[in-house]
């Protein structure tokens, strides 16, 4: 038993890295940066959804110039003085340098087709989108901000799970974000969740699945333990779409799969539906 890893942290990478990040792993079409930006990082040949960075996601959803970022001052600390093969502080500094982000979530006020909402967007490029104290706190503040301003919260997730380097405090971000969602629910405001590839472990097992509406991008992996661990434990041959959005839809775990180009109009429609009649 001791060898079984059933933690909320998984090793699952978004997709086996192709020879070049701009090469489609499924049909091998190659794109220039500007082409991908124009197509919202969706392969025009086969529909593959490339990983989308938080800033690009916000730009694709929010009305131009409408996004006002919040909680920019929050940075991860190192409460455990955690050191594995490298110190956590070094991993953080590298992630910050490589992504230009302070941590794996960006929050702020935005308008989507003129409807005001709060946005909370994760970025897998920052330490695998792992959830530590900063992600938990930012999500929690986004809930409060939405409740205070009486507008819905739209959360876009992409995460490998809890951030191991913060130990038990990382696990505590699950109940923390859940409690924040409950406060948001009590305020009468809606939570709209969009799961992008991959949403696994602790993020799946907390706020991501608690939306009033739960959407997913095509082929996004949404699995608690991840296929690698399940395969190791069960020794079963897993179905091809194991843990993918399509399987989750079939089993009634989510409300709809929305291809990226349709996400903005879909969210806009949902924001209209949740808008209280005045």
């Amino acid at each position: 038993m001791a060898k079984i890893d059933v933690s909320v942290e998984t090793n699952d990478q978004p997709t086996p890295p192709p020879s070049h990040p701009n090469t489609c792993p499924s049909c091998h079409s190659h794109y220039r940066d500007d082409e991908l930006e124009k197509s919202q990082w969706v392969c025009e040949q086969c529909g593959h959804h490339f990983p989308m960075r938080a800033r690009a996601r916000i730009a694709s959803l929010a009305d131009p110039g409408s996004f006002a970022e919040e909680a920019t001052e929050l940075h991860s600390a190192d409460p455990l003085g955690f050191f594995d093969l490298r110190p956590y502080t070094e991993r953080l500094a590298q992630a910050e340098m490589e992504t230009g982000l302070a941590d794996a979530m960006v929050i702020g006020r935005a308008a989507i087709e003129k409807r005001q909402c709060e946005l909370a967007v994760m970025d897998f490029a920052f330490m695998g989108g792992s959830m530590g104290s900063v992600v938990g706190e930012k999500f929690s503040r986004a809930c409060d901000s939405a409740a205070e301003a009486k507008m819905p919260l739209v959360a876009v997730t992409s995460s490998g799970g809890a951030r191991m380097q913060e130990g038990i405090l990382a696990l505590m971000q699950l109940p923390k974000t859940v409690a924040a969602v409950e406060d948001l629910h009590d305020s009468g405001q809606a939570l709209l969740c969009v799961m992008a590839h991959p949403t696994t472990g602790g993020v799946l097992a907390s706020f991501a699945t608690l939306g009033d509406i739960v959407l997913a991008e095509p082929n996004a992996l949404m699995s608690f333990a991840g296929p690698r661990v399940v395969q190791e434990i069960t020794k079963e041959k897993l179905p091809d779409d194991f843990g993918r959005a399509e399987q989750n839809l079939r089993y009634g775990q989510i409300d709809a799969i929305v291809p990226r180009p349709e996400l903005r109009p879909t969210l806009s429609r949902l924001l209209r539906l949740f808008d209280a009649p005045n």
Binding site: M1, A2, K3, I4, D5, V6, S7, V8, E9, L74, H75, S76, P79, L80, G81, F82, D84, L85, S133, G136, E137, S140, A162, M164, E166, G167, I168, L169, L171, M172, L174, P175, V178, A179, V181, E182, T200, G201, G202, L204, A205, S206, F207, A208, T209, L210, M222, S223, F224, A225, V229, V230, I233, T234, L238, F242, G243, N248, Y251, Q253
Partner: protein, 311 residues
């Protein structure tokens, strides 16, 4: 006596902690006071070898499990088997019983004692049905004003094909969401392994206790070693790095109280272990008595929303 290397490391860590703005709840409850207590506790804190010993004790096959405590602490015990949807998950126990003449609802994972039982209870790793069974019992408690006691003892939620297809992640989230809504007192105690999401699913409580030799962690030491050290054999190093022991969890404000065990561990004298646990549960329930449901719920959410450390 000069400070040991271990103590120096702790002092340095505490120094770092002291320079960080702790989150809201910590500010409310007196951040400085807490740090002062942490410094006083340095002497109590476990060394790397002691931490590994606790991992072993927490997983000891003779350690009392949930039903061993139920048998010793509750009168008129009546087990609830149904999740009202799909099946009876042996990895999760739920039921009603009398604790000091008062009806309480108990929820807890159950590992198995022999080979057959271990398999049928999946070593205490619940499926979504297990969490649904827990929701059902907790919602029953809320309707009737019964306090809820949860005993946490799981390596984690079961990573199975069926479990994943039936929404393991969502089941864990929903379980926490229900606990965040209850208006009755909830006391949780980690009695063995508090393994990640599978554990927190039933631990969003007003008071969180932990037995002296229990562990509570975001990932197993083996899992952490496999991912960060790329070698599961480095499990002792991993455990020492994230320190899943009770004293450390209390230092971080994750748990409220450490429950004593008989010398050598709970398995040495299960009757005494049960008396000590019973005493701690009674005291915690008494502290929560008479607090209006809305206040309980608000404070419970605030407690968890305050957890985290950042710069």
């Amino acid at each position: 006596m000069p400070p040991t290397e271990h103590e120096l490391r702790l002092r340095e860590r505490l120094g770092r902690l002291r320079n960080l703005p702790l989150l809201g709840g910590a500010r409310i409850s007196g951040e400085l006071e807490r740090l002062q207590r942490q410094i006083e506790r340095i002497g109590e804190e476990a060394t790397d070898e002691e931490i590994w010993r606790k991992v072993e004790l927490a997983r000891d096959e003779d350690r009392p499990y949930t039903l061993d405590y139920v048998e010793r602490l509750f009168d008129d015990w009546f087990e609830l088997h149904g999740d009202r949807a799909l099946g009876d998950d042996g990895a999760m126990i739920a039921g009603l019983g009398k604790l000091d003449g008062r009806t309480v609802v108990l929820v807890g994972q159950q590992k198995g004692r022999d080979v057959h039982e271990r398999a049928s209870r999946r070593f205490g790793m619940p499926n979504p049905e297990g969490y649904r069974k827990a929701w059902h019992a907790m919602e029953l408690a809320d309707r009737h004003g019964f306090p809820v006691v949860t005993l946490v003892d799981t390596p984690g939620a079961y990573p199975g094909v069926f479990a994943e297809q039936h929404g393991q992640g969502a089941a864990i989230a929903r379980s926490q969401s229900i606990m965040a809504r209850l208006k009755v007192p909830i006391v949780a105690c980690v009695i063995g392994e508090g393994g990640s999401g599978g554990a927190i699913a039933i631990a969003l409580a007003d008071r969180v206790l932990m037995q002296e030799n229990a562990i509570y962690s975001v990932i197993s030491p083996e899992g952490c070693a496999a991912i960060l050290w790329r070698d599961a054999g480095q499990k002792k190093k991993a455990a020492a790095a994230f320190r899943p022991d009770a004293v450390h969890c209390r230092e971080l404000g994750v748990i409220d109280e450490v429950v004593s065990e008989p010398v050598g561990g709970a398995h040495i004298d299960p009757d005494l272990a049960a008396r000590l646990l019973g005493q701690a549960l009674r005291e915690s329930l008494a502290e929560l008595d008479g607090i209006p449901g809305d206040d309980l719920r608000r404070r419970r959410r605030a407690r968890f929303r305050s957890l985290g450390v950042f710069a």
